[in-house]
Amino acid sequence: MSRIGVFICHCGENISRTVDVVRVAQEVGTRPGVAFSTDYKYMCSDPGQNLLKKAIQEQKLSHVVVAACSPRMHERTFRKAVESAGLNPFLCEMANIREHCSWVHENIEEATAKAVDIVGMMVERVKKNRVLPAITVPVTKRSLIIGGGIAGIQAALDIADAGHQVVLVEREPSIGGHMAQLSETFPTLDCSQCIMTPKMVDVANHPNITLHTYSEIELVEGFIGNFQVTIKKKARSVDEDKCTGCGVCMTKCPQKKIPNKFDCNLGMRPAIYVPFPQAVPNTPVIDRDNCTMFKTGKCGVCQKVCGPGAVDFEQQDRLIVEAVGAIVVATGFELYTIDEKPENSPIKGYGEFGYGKIPDVIDGMTFERLASASGPTGGKILRSDGKEPKQIVFIQCIGSRARDKGISYCSKVCCMYTAKHTMLYHHKIHDGQAYVFYMDARTPGKSYDEFWRRSIEEEEAVYIRGMVSRLYQKGDKIVVMGSDIAAGIQVEIEADMVVLATAVQPQKGADLLAQKLGISYDKYNFYSEAHAKLRPVECATAGIYLAGACQGPKDIPETVSQASAAAAKVMTLFSKDQMEREPIVAKVREAGCVGCFACKKICAYGAIEEKEIRDRQGNLVKVVAYVNPGVCAGCGTCQATCPSKSIELDGYTDEQIVAMIEAL
């Protein structure tokens, strides 16, 4: 038999002005099951809470209803008070007679009658409340970071410096990502590799970081605090422990003319190679598709000249399983290309620019490699025929902001890097003239607008507001046909080189990785954050965080900020050995579940798993649903969906709700 305590708060005058609180306490006090009913001026105050605690102990109350303000205000306060008096906090409910009653109804009779109804309703509900013990989820204090660009590197260093273990997985043979390809970075014109390589070396040397390069994520299982990730370490054909990084193998390799992806295919590399001289780790990889040994079975020069004997043609791909508690996704971006796309592709190519077949029409990253001192031309800006370009046309918004090409968003970084390109060009070729066709100049960051103005005022770049409609070859020149909207005329420029500021897109395979992780992505394959404004580094899937351009186009300062933010979230998760959660989670009544998994399909958090029920001999009886209490967010959509009424949300059971309806 319940012994419910009812406490009606006056809230000073806020409630008692329009609700006769004494009468409410009296009327509710006559309900069966109510053992104690009183009113008090300020229930949330110290004396108010003490009154509550004293009554629980003296009156041996089994449940409590506090009729006062909105539970969104003080439910936690009263549940804590009740818990300290020895009662399970979920046996305490609040009745909202302020925001929903006294403040919105002036007529005392009506307001009081409504208050009696509301409190009575909560009394009947609380009779069906069950003891709910707090849920604890153990946390493995190790973090996985997918992607070794600046975002992954920053997050790895932050988490490792805090004393936690980090596993960093990178698809390419070296970490560094796209930032390692850049020449100088805006708005400071810092040499990109100079600021980045110290961080790369820190990652390699850090005692808390385990680096897996030339590796990919194969499988992700588990949930927050308890992930098991299978990593495929692709065969480098070189033993990482034996290799000293001397580089003799690369100089002796007979295959020297393989286009180097790092140099945007402008530079060449051998079959056994490191992508760039500052690579971390400085261990080469054999490109088995182009290596003579793997194609014909003859050669093996690298193995012969290798002093430590590190070259191993028999090496196989390996699978490693790592147990981690949190995952940070930092897979970055790739650039849009203007080439012809398959027919049903949502993204279109630029036929008006010759689908990329006109020589010396390049993208921004290729220009970076030309400008880079360690690039294929030693930092000289040269055409494909080796001549210096005297007129370069830069075209903004290629692919971006172009609904008809399939990409509606702005890629954010191109206005700034194009201004930077005009400066680099002017610094290297003093009599060169840069023209920029643009729509808007989007330069909002710190020192960004000043940087952009510098390219016009000091570096003599000519900015033409208008779009380009066509590029075609004329002799060894490229004719650019565009419009100058400010002057209201059509313009034609005979350029020696055209640089396109192409759109920033997520990496190829981003959607497949998201499906492995169980995280959401948008129609462009950018990963979705849990809340656009208030939770920009978390996914809806608990325990998985986002950093960098994989979430949306961004520049280096923002990427570093976001990486540190994701690291902070991981550190919050790791701050305790056990993660505590509110026990408002769903539970499956296995006797009734038929395994239709309608609940699993609709759960937005992926909290429902399949569980086998076996008999004593080990034979499979049936497969039922199981709710992971560490992941369930407590919405109850599963319960309303279940056709057999076999799943129940603790705290909002059918009995509790029907009790409320019947009380009215």
Binding site: R72, C101, K114, G636, Q639, D654, I657
Partner: protein, 166 residues
């Protein structure tokens, strides 16, 4: 300044099923802003409209509600990501069933009220209350209950015959 309360013959009973994060918060905002509205509505709090089983609506009508309101987050803004989409689909089908059964759909209202829309909450509650007031009390379920209820007294000849044959 209290407007003269108009005396009505019939005070409808309106039951509202709302989600914690949007509509309940919107109703709280209406309270904080001291907006006034008719005192006929009783609010039941759910974590999400996705939790609302259509059976609860039927139960509410059975228990004597004259009008029922279901309100949640705007599509796309669900705190639990997609619960309100499931609710929307569920209730689109349920409305057809209610119509078939003979419940006047004007007594049932679905709305999206965000945590910032205190005014919209007041408007919806007021409109529904006045609409249901004009329709009068819902008697269908009460009549049905009366038909099915058996007082326990054998007061007709058919009942006497049936009893004798046992």
């Amino acid at each position: 300044m209290h407007p003269e309360k108009q005396k009505h013959d019939f005070e409808p009973k309106i039951i509202a099923f709302v989600c914690t994060w949007c509509t309940y918060a919107g109703a709280d905002l209406a309270g904080t802003s001291r907006m006034q509205y008719p005192a006929n509505v009783r609010v039941l709090k759910f974590p999400c409209t996705g939790r609302i089983d259509p059976v609860f609506i039927l139960k509410a009508f059975q228990q004597g509600a004259d009008g029922v309101l279901v309100s949640g987050c705007h599509p796309g803004d669900c705190h639990y990501i997609a619960g309100n989409f499931h609710a929307r689909r569920r209730f689109a089908a349920f409305r057809k069933l209610l119509e078939f059964v003979g419940v006047d759909l004007n007594r049932l209202e679905f709305s999206w009220v965000s945590a910032a829309e205190g005014g919209k909450w007041v408007e919806i509650v007021t409109n529904l209350t006045e609409k249901v007031r004009a329709m009068g009390p819902m008697t269908e379920f009460k009549e049905l209950a009366l038909e099915e209820q058996w007082s326990g007294v054998i007061n007709t000849s058919e009942l006497q015959e049936a009893y004798n044959s046992i």
